[in-house]
Symmetry: C2
Subunit: 216 residues, 2 copies
DNA sequence: GGAATTAGTGAACGCTCAGTTCACTAGAGC
DNA sequence: GCTCTAGTGAACTGAGCGTTCACTAATTCC
């Protein structure tokens, strides 16, 4: 932390101060740490300010409230498209991707989602932005995996809709919100095998679904 | 309301009081009304007490906090299995069912879900109970529709997993939480046609999904 | 270097509400 | 009628939100 460790006056106002982006970064780091430790509901502006060695008024000068601060603190947590390993099969790739999202949702990103839905901030700009980024990124990443599978020669659905690409992700998010941050491996496998594969590669689906013969 | 309209003493403690289940019902009604008007985040124990013409201490005698109160207020809102109309096709039935859940989620039930996920009460007994009831009921209702379709001779998946039966519902809930209580008709149609039908009746799926020919 | 401006700060404030306690007393049961 | 129990309005404490303020560290400009 950039605050010098020299003897400091009793009144912190007389002490060295950060300004602009340096201060913002310090506050965002503190917010991320608080979010991780106490969750969205337990996080307070006062404690973020303390942790960041900043004045509460400064937080309110930069952010109009908790949601906005949380959004800024977590917005860089989403994976980039080029970082996904190639497992050699769509199923393997989807398992990797969902594992990555589960891991992210276990930390501050999951708490940000929780906070924003809990406060019913559907029309709030920061909420709309977080949702757009998360859903858009999920769809984009999933689509890239499906395209990669097609290039490999796998029999995949060529016209998967956004809703189908997003389905497994919505289910995972809902699962984390409803059940807590620890997602069992079998849950991930189930989401991939029972939902994503049937929707994205129906012809290569696993025997979880058996057709009933037509009535005579 | 069962409080007589006669002249009342200035000190309400000297006024007639309800007891037991009568009082509980009054408080639950008030909670439901507040939940509907202000959402979970905006609802306060003080205002519920006022609205119910009850003492705040009485609320805390019966319920250990807001989540528990909200759970009790909303637990009877779930539809019973026998109440679903038969439209003559699985698709029609699913549209009816999802329309019904969307309608429920627009009101206090949606706010209860929002509150409980927002407070990260995954392990809280009332949260676990609400989740169990809602998910269990959704799966049960959906399964009954699939069975009815099979009885009608429709070509449905005979071994749909719980996750597949629950998938459309999780997506709907996540949609309401993320986007707000007004669910467009086309969203419901999309959930049914693009996710539920392919999972529950793959052989009768609509042309939203087109297979890509195998690579030569 | 000095002046002017700007942003950051600790302290303080008023407000709301959660959760609790208390003395009084309406209701219920015997 | 008596005893016990649950319900009540009032009051309380403490936490945290959002705001204001006087002071002053930082930055910019001449």
């Amino acid at each position: 932390m950039g605050i010098p460790a020299v003897a400091e006056p009793a009144d912190h106002r007389r002490r060295p101060r950060r300004r602009g982006e340096t201060l913002r970064a310090g506050i965002l780091d503190a917010a991320l740490a608080e979010l991780e430790e106490t969750g969205y509901a337990g996080m307070t502006m006062e404690r973020v300010a303390e942790r960041a060695h900043a004045g509460k008024a400064s937080l309110y000068r930069h952010w109009n409230g908790k949601a906005h601060l949380v959004f800024d603190a977590t917005r860089r947590a989403l994976p980039e498209p080029g970082t996904l390993a190639d497992t050699g099969s769509l199923r393997g790739d989807l398992l990797e991707l969902m594992g990555l999202f589960a891991h992210l949702l276990r930390g501050p990103l999951g708490e940000a989602v929780r906070g924003i839905v809990g406060e019913a901030l559907a029309r709030e700009p920061s909420a709309a932005a977080l949702r757009r980024e998360q859903e858009g990124r999920a769809v984009e990443l999933t689509r890239s995996l499906v395209e990669r599978a097609a290039d490999r020669g796998e029999n995949v659905a060529s016209g998967a809709t956004e809703r189908q690409l997003e389905a497994g992700h919505a289910i995972l998010r809902m699962h984390v919100l409803a059940h807590g941050p620890d997602v069992a491996e079998e849950t991930l496998v189930g989401i991939v095998d029972e939902v994503m594969m049937p929707l994205l590669a129906p012809a290569s689906r696993r025997p979880a679904v058996r057709l009933r013969p037509p009535r005579p």
